[in-house]
Amino acid sequence: MTQDKSFISKEQVLHVAALAKLNLSDQEVTKFTAQLSDILGYANELSELELKDVSPTAHPIELENVFRDDTVLKSIDNSKVIQNAPESLNSQFKVPPILDD
């Protein structure tokens, strides 16, 4: 494994956590830095492959142009829509105010 070399810094972990609106304890930062580094290190093994003659692909499956016809189908019942909402008002999802400044 990649004990000696970390593929992600603590600062990067804190940055990603901030983007995801997560508050991490120092302990968690240490733990997730190691875990994320392991994942990135594993993915990094791909760079050891000889890929000079392989053209970049956007998708692993050789498919293109998968479409749906523009035909209306029934939506789901409103009571089911807000069934899992922690809070709702007038059939709408109620969330804390989203403008924070």
Binding site: H59, N65, N78, L89, Q92, P97
Partner: protein
């Protein structure tokens, strides 16, 4: 009232001249596509429904749901690309990651480095041009309503989310930073709107939010080569707000620099009540969208044959429709003064009835004037005018058989009564034709009755013309044609 707007415009121009600054503006225009269903799911694409009634696991972002691309949305996006002179190319979709409750998946499916349409331009009515960097497909967000006792956005105590709009197909049209003033920005948005509405892909209703504009504004000293730091003003939903927000922002940034401060890159919101832009968020963190290719969607490669087919099935482009009207007006002397009327005719979708009416032989200038003035007040009815009856009416006016006033009266009745023929309308309105013969008879009678006035007229007192016209209008109960009376009087003066 035009005055205040002009004053503001000149104020800003003067202000920039005095301070030696210039503005650089780029616009991002989001327009909803008029598809029957959403972009990734089969929920109905519709405005003004009860909250959260047009949603399903896909557009609610529930785990395990998968997007499937709406073919019609792609066709509409390609129409827009073609109308904006873009290259339509193979493209892929990306995830744009950010946390905001109106985006239920916590990412928006959009296009990033390879958009479907790239490198186009829009030609403005004054001959100027604005480059189009890209016009890509993405999904709309849900609609959030902020509420608070005061009703002010910064004091909202909770936010309610309706996801009916989430997943509605959008095309985002990104202009090059070629725009230099609020007036040019408004001209660009107006022309862009007309162009894309003519494709049938979108209805361009700013007031309903189906077309929304973000403005990137920066200022710099004229002699500097590097652009200044820009601020983005989000969600401008009327031309008026667009103009005001840009002018406010230009002034704010120049004032900032002149007072020794720096312009901070940030996203701003235009407050309609305060008439000013206010900070929404600074850019530093929000910029980091961590785009990556959407693994649940395959590449979109429309291919030349399909693009050709879309081009062939598309309604004629705005510019072609204007050219068609211009061609029909070739012979007209005043065509240069009529260019804006031609644009209005096409924007009102009255070019088809114009074409048919002129095709039958009606005078194009009169047809254009009647359609863009009187008929424009009843535009639905005007589109359904019977070209034959309308052409006959214009012919009567052209031949001086009826006056312009009479013609307008008949036209307004014709618009209200599409089933009645011209002859019936004329008899119902008691329109009496005062053609050359009838008018000449009246003029001759008047000359006999008022020899003194006619003598003064003969001596060259042209003011008497008004007296004669007034008398004849009285005799004819307002139905005579003043222009024709003048012509006949002149003829009589030369005869005697």
């Amino acid at each position: 009232m035009e005055m205040p707007a002009n004053t503001v415009k000149n104020d800003i121009e003067d202000f920039l001249k005095d301070t030696g600054f210039e503005a650089t503006i780029g616009l991002e225009v989001h327009c909803e596509l008029k598809t029957a269903t959403k972009l990734w799911c089969s929920c109905k694409n519709s405005f003004g429904n009860e909250p959260n009634t047009l949603v399903c696991p896909v557009c609610l972002g529930l785990p395990g749901s998968l997007p499937v691309l709406n073919k019609r949305a792609v066709e509409y996006a390609i129409r827009i690309g073609l109308a904006l002179n873009c290259t339509v190319q193979n493209s892929i979709f990306h995830r744009k990651n950010y946390f905001y409750p109106d985006m239920p998946k916590d990412f928006q499916i959009s296009q990033y480095d390879i958009p479907i349409n790239a490198d186009g331009y829009v030609t403005l009515p004054d001959g100027g041009s604005v480059g189009i960097v890209r016009a890509h497909i993405e999904e709309d967000t849900g609609k959030s309503t902020h509420f608070s006792a005061s009703g002010r956005i910064h004091e909202s105590s909770a936010t309610l989310i309706d996801y009916n709009r989430a997943g509605i197909p959008l095309v985002e049209i990104v202009s090059a930073p070629d725009i230099t003033s609020s007036e040019m920005a408004k001209a660009y948005v107006t022309e862009l709107r007309n162009i894309i509405v003519a494709t049938g892909a979108t209805d361009g209703k700013m007031e309903e939010g189906s077309m929304r504009v973000d403005a990137n504004v920066s200022v710099k000293r004229i002699q500097d080569s590097e652009l200044g730091t820009r601020c983005e003003i989000k969600n401008l939903n009327s031309l008026r707000s667009l103009g005001k927000a840009i002018n406010y922002e230009i002034k704010r940034q120049v004032d900032n620099i002149l007072s020794g401060q720096k312009v901070v890159q940030q996203t701003r919101h235009f407050n309609e009540d305060l008439n000013q832009t206010v900070t929404l968020r600074t850019k530093e963190e929000a910029e980091d969208y961590r785009y990556f290719p959407e693994p649940d969607l395959v590449p979109l490669n429309p291919g030349a044959a399909w693009i050709e087919q879309i081009k062939a099935e598309m309604p004629p482009l705005l510019i072609e429709r204007r050219r068609m009207v211009q061609d029909l007006m070739r012979e007209t002397q005043e065509i240069d003064q009529l260019q804006s009327a031609i644009a209005i005719l096409v924007d009102l979708n009255l070019d088809s009835v114009f074409k048919q009416t002129v095709g039958i032989g009606a005078n194009p200038t009169i047809a254009l004037k009647r359609l863009t003035n009187e008929a424009a007040n009843a535009v639905e009815a005007a589109r359904n005018l019977n070209p034959e009856q309308f052409a006959k009416l214009i012919q009567l006016e052209t031949d001086n058989k009826i006056s312009t006033t009479q013609s307008k009266t008949i036209l307004s009745k014709m618009l209200e009564n599409p089933d009645k023929t011209l002859d019936i309308l004329i008899s119902e309105l008691n329109i009496v034709s005062f053609g050359e013969a009838e008018t000449t008879a009246l003029v001759e009678q008047l000359i006999k009755d008022k020899p003194d006035e006619f003598e003064r007229f003969k001596q060259g007192d042209d003011k008497v013309t008004q007296f004669f016209i007034g008398q004849i209008m009285r005799l004819s109960k307002g139905q005579a044609n003043g222009k024709l009376v003048t012509e006949i009087l002149m003829k009589k003066r030369n005869q005697f």
